[in-house]
Symmetry: C2
DNA sequence: TTGTAGGCGTTATCAT
DNA sequence: ATGATAACGCCTACAA
């Protein structure tokens, strides 16, 4: 019925907690008659001026207004608790002060950090943001794009799209709205992101420095651009270390916890051996850790493991998971800022790369050289 | 500068990853002239009918329209890629098909599950939701309420508000918009939530059944209604077990990871002793686990610990954290459903209580009775 | 079966 | 310094 509810742990449930609902007093029905909202007209009448004047006063237009009038208008507006109708304004001015944010899933720490960054910054500039959870489904994406278009959003931030053939959004948008993409993609919009390739490469070098030679790769789906980007970094890291790339060591997954666990389990079953895992997500890495532990492998002694994206979880598990951190809040914030800039006719760079940082924790501790 | 960026772990940073930005080709400037959007008028012209007809066809009004006309209009709309202007519609119909969601912080799993529930359900009914991250700040709440009011939202979902004096929102809203609250609050809106008191009480009983007698409480701020509710459950659980309530065992915190850690650290420094901790949030519990481990206390042997809200982290730490799970997605979904119902004049219950479930894991394993 | 006209709440243009 | 008026894009009586 609902895809977002976690399955209960095996046999862990207990005490179903008091029953359900309780239909108390059958609702306050229709709240009588709603007092009509005040409009410029109402305010004008009360202040004894024209609507034009009200509009001018409330919008701080030119100070060619008598102080007395200003005062009267403000007073009337206050008294009536007048709030301008943003939709009428949008209709008239042809800008909605609204930005759409397309996101695979707000439940993912990576993305809700982006969301916060976007929301905070949008708010600062007087913009409202509409969140669209696409679940990486092309049809949902299309539906949302149409919705955003009907809402006449001034701009759209694309996120996590980046699939081989993600051109389905290309013509639907643009024209009117300003678009910015976060992360790798195939569209011709300005973009912002990190050096994914370099980050993974650096991480691999770190593993090698710790004495690892057979480094497996726990990746995403081959079609995802972000996967391709990171895989390139993985290969570059190996090459730089003089290690031959072995395709059988690359395990695809959906980068979820369970996905990571399954991938590693089946790799182990298949008899694969490795002394390190380079994962393209913390979640998958966590799942991998589970699989390793269950297989009796010790971390980091027998297998080192490196995550990516630095989720809050990584510091809580044991051993603490090494990871790569990206300025995710800034991704969202900057994307919003760029849209605002474009809207104001200011030039924006076609692409921006923000710095990453390796976070070295215990899961990738160097191999101790045994006395022999 | 930005409050959402985690501090780097102590001395864990390394390799600052390529520098920053890269101002490439200086942006595609202004995208030439934007082709004007088609309107009903445009479509009507192309189809050779009146705007009325267009409107009727596109809104599937009565089938008293000739098939030929319908076809022509649809064709014209398709050809022009016509999308109705939702703001003009909202202005005319006086409904915005929009719902506001006030939430303390979307980063918290508890709340983003609510957000997903709300968003999914709103979308299903053709509504759009506007997220408002209040950070539990009264001033932000007020700002957002005004914003939502100007956006003429049809409904508002209040969340995590519940503070002693949260009546500041009371008069600002209502009148026009339908309001539903999730969780305890002091306002006269329909509400939905769980039996927080009963849940904590059951959890305490579980701890007692495991042989614990000195059960500390890791709570939130005294002013939060949710805290008061849960504290009552804590006391009820003790009382039912014949254990005297000891106020010194109640540790207030902000329920964050760090907050929980600090609270427990200072409790231990103060010489407090206990054989169990009942925490009002998983995050705080996680912090507490850290503090306990650093103090050399073993979990669950020396101290059992129980969380609340069942965040995804709880299953990943060691030992796995026992917790209480609430149907959070449903909270958001149901709240939205209620608003939609109210909007359609359907009656809704004044209050609804959804079931909780205890998730027993290793962190609250029963004390082994040592052979003596 | 289809068209005409007025108005939702605001702002911008042009007068005064 | 202030007002009358038109128009933004759409829907909906009311006509025909």
């Amino acid at each position: 019925m609902n895809p977002h509810v976690r399955e209960p742990d095996e046999g862990a449930a207990e005490s179903p907690g008091e029953a359900t609902t309780s239909p108390l007093p059958p609702a306050p029905a229709e709240p009588a008659v709603l007092t009509a909202r005040p409009t410029v007209k109402t305010v004008a009448a009360l202040a004894g001026v024209s609507t034009t004047t009200v509009s001018r006063v409330l919008n701080y237009k030119a100070d060619l207004l008598s102080d007395a009038t200003k005062a009267r208008v403000f007073e009337a507006a206050r008294e009536l608790n007048y709030k301008p109708n943003s939709m009428a304004i949008a209709l008239r001015k042809k800008v909605s002060q609204t930005i759409g944010l397309m996101i695979p899933d707000i439940s993912n720490p990576y993305f809700h950090q982006i969301a916060r960054g976007a929301e905070d910054t949008a708010m600062k500039h007087g913009y409202t943001v509409i969140f669209c959870n696409t679940d990486r489904s092309a049809s949902k994406e299309l539906t949302y794009v149409d919705l955003l278009d009907e809402k006449r959003v001034d701009g759209v931030i694309l996120t996590g799209g980046g699939v081989d053939g993600d051109t389905h959004l290309a013509d639907r948008l643009h024209e009117q709205a300003r678009v910015v993409a976060i992360g790798p993609h195939r569209l011709s919009y300005p973009s912002i992101g990190a050096d994914d390739r370099g980050a993974i490469q650096a991480a691999v070098l770190h593993l090698v420095a710790g004495g690892r030679r057979r480094i497996a790769c726990l990746g995403g789906q081959p079609g995802w651009l972000i996967h391709q980007e990171r895989l390139a970094g993985y290969r570059a890291g190996l090459e730089e270390s003089g290690i031959t790339y072995d395709e059988s060591l690359v395990m695809p997954s959906d980068l979820s916890i369970d996905g990571g666990q399954q991938a590693v389990e089946s790799a182990l079953r298949a008899g694969l051996s490795f002394d390190a895992i380079m994962s393209f997500s913390d979640y998958a890495a966590l799942g991998a850790m589970r699989a390793l532990k269950e297989a009796g492998l010790t971390i980091p002694d027998q297998v080192a493991i490196m995550g990516c994206d630095d989720s809050p979880l990584s510091q809580m598990v044991e051993p603490a998971l090494s990871s790569i951190t990206f300025p995710v809040w800034e991704f969202g914030s900057l994307a919003t800022q760029m849209i605002v800039d474009m809207l104001n006719g200011r030039p924006v760079p076609a692409s921006q790369v923000l710095p990453y940082q390796l976070r070295i924790r215990q899961s990738t501790a160097a191999l101790r050289v045994l006395p022999s």
